[in-house]
């Protein structure tokens, strides 16, 4: 039983990172209807920039963290302006393919600059484990979980109360109506990419503190799909919850598969089997908007 409890807790930690990445994905999808296959690469770039500033430029962690955020902001702006804006109005497959191409470019840039070896962050938090529900858990795990929760609250408040957040929701709801109310759609698109890149880079920094980073980090971007499909493609709360559920689910399934079926590596595929099942029975997820077509 303790084995499974351990799995649930580590699943929650991984899940909170999935939630962060899914949050970025949903922000972009909600505002611009772009499905971003490069979300995992944004995580990776953020992690590597923070690594370069902390280890290679020897800045204090907190400074490099904020500089990483600033860099991600600019990166998101550049991607939206240079790559996505020319494709407004093109078919879905073109937009999907352009983000896939973008992910290849980002991945190869990271490999060219930093190579393919695993790089390890210097420890930021103390190493002694904290007891959670009678189990020892590393402080960085707890910090990751709390940080994800705080970010989720900040973004919820941002979308609910701030002028810009409300403008973004209005754009997501109806672009034409929003434009006629004087909202600059271009600004909203750019802003959503900036926010998504920043959130993803925070996920990357947390992940770097837990496991170290390598050029395969981008695969995390694929895990975001089960999370957002479960939560509903355009729901922030759904993304946060979906990420946590998928994180726990894949860890527990992996443990069970090892124990009962003696099957290794089930982790990578469990979430996707679950994804197909959700798509079959509830394609718009738990909190997504149903698209109704009438003739």
């Amino acid at each position: 039983m303790e084995y499974y409890l351990q799995l649930v807790i580590s699943g929650l930690v991984v899940g909170s990172i999935y939630s962060l990445v899914a949050l970025g994905f949903v922000i972009i999808y909600k505002a611009t209807k772009v499905v971003n296959f490069a979300q995992g690469e944004l995580v990776m770039v953020g992690a590597y920039i923070c690594f370069a500033l902390t280890v290679q430029a020897e800045l204090p962690f907190i400074v490099s963290f904020f500089m990483t955020l600033a860099f991600s902001f600019v990166l998101g702006l550049a991607i939206e302006r240079l790559v996505l804006r020319p494709l407004i109005g093109e078919p879905i497959i073109s937009v999907i393919m352009v983000t896939i191409g973008l992910s290849s470019v980002l991945k190869s840039l990271v490999q060219l600059f930093w190579g393919t070896q695993i790089q390890v962050f210097p420890p930021v938090l103390p190493q002694e484990p904290i007891m959670v529900a009678g189990l020892p858990v590393a402080p960085v795990y707890v910090a990751a979980f709390i940080l994800a929760g705080v970010l989720f609250l900040i973004f919820s408040a941002f979308f609910k109360y701030s002028r810009m957040g409300i403008a973004m929701r209005a754009t997501a709801f109806d672009q034409q109506a929003a434009a006629s109310m004087g909202i600059s759609i271009k600004r909203i698109f750019a802003l959503s990419w900036c926010i998504a890149a920043m959130v993803s880079s925070i996920g990357g920094v947390i992940l770097g503190n837990i496991n170290g980073i390598n050029a395969q980090l981008g695969h995390l971007g694929l895990k975001v799909f089960p999370a957002v499909i479960l939560g509903g493609l355009d729901s922030l709360f759904g993304a946060a919850l979906g990420g946590l559920i998928i994180g726990v689910l894949e860890n527990v399934c992996d443990g069970a598969a090892k124990e009962f079926l003696n099957l290794g590596g089930f982790k990578d595929v469990a979430a996707f089997i679950f994804l197909v099942i959700i798509l079959m029975i509830k394609p718009y997820g738990l909190f997504g908007t149903h698209e109704i077509e009438r003739v």
Binding site: V83, I100, G101, L102, K107, G265, V269
Partner: protein
Amino acid sequence: MHGQCGLFFRTYAGEAQIFPSRFLKISMLLFFLVLCAVPHFMNQYLVSILCLINIAVIGAVSLNLLTGTCGQISLGHGAFFGVGAYTAGYCAAFGLPFPLVMVLAGLVTAAVGMIFGLPSLRLKGIYLAIATLAAQLILEYVFLHWDAVTGGSNGLALDPPSLFGFSFDSDLKMFYLTLAIACLTVLGVRNIMRTKLGRAFTAIRDYHLSAEIVGVDLFAYKLRAFGVSSFMAGMGGALWAYYTMYITPEQFGIGLSISYLAMVVIGGMGSVLGGVFGAIFITILPEALNFIAQHAGEAFTDISGSLLAMKEGVFGLVLVLFLIFEPEGLANRWRLVKAYWKLYPFAH
């Protein structure tokens, strides 16, 4: 003395011809003869690239039927290709004859493709793309872990195919075999596109609700699109297995699916010629980079070390640039070039 300028058709059958003019027939025949003769004057490396292009053409044209013509985005084509390859590997181990193995590979892949096409009843656009992405990852897992059939991470080895006692044991012989099947695929897809089936696919792509109103059974035709496309992908995968003679799960990863989609997008969606162009372009691109790196390596010593990363980066960059500056693909550019020379020098 005056001749006809342009093509005029008075019947639908005339308009639906694959080769409408005598000039086209003759030039295709000449092209085909040159294509058959050229490999005799090439070294083995170049012939092997031609073989890879032939196999890629099968994959790209079949995916173009599904994605370009029927509008169903599939991120799982690489895995379907793998299903064909593994079926061929498994059947060949029992000593089944080559043509039977090819047909079996096609049929098994068609069945798998139709199973993963089932969600297309309820899903479209991005949801379907994600469902096929799941298919890709699940199939990859099966390739790696169903040891009894796929050999797991050790892979499967095959003998070169033989037909009526004639063994295709060199690159040159494989070139003719792959060329024959690639031509059959291209002609097959071209023919499908001018039948009821093809028109139904186009109708579904253009607007599914209108298609349903005019009496196209959406589910049946989407499933058929998955079935036909996967059948051809399976044949392509079987050929790939016979050609490389050794298959492992990594060969059929998400990267393969992405490069097939890239071929379709770069070549031109919904056009058979586009699939062919895309396959040629994407297959030659990494080889061209190799060539450049070898020659640039003399000037810059450390360039070849990061070649792998650069290949991926250039692939992504080409994809992005094509989508931004040439969204209609190479097939459209080819059409424009032809139109330019057709009326040269009187362009109006």
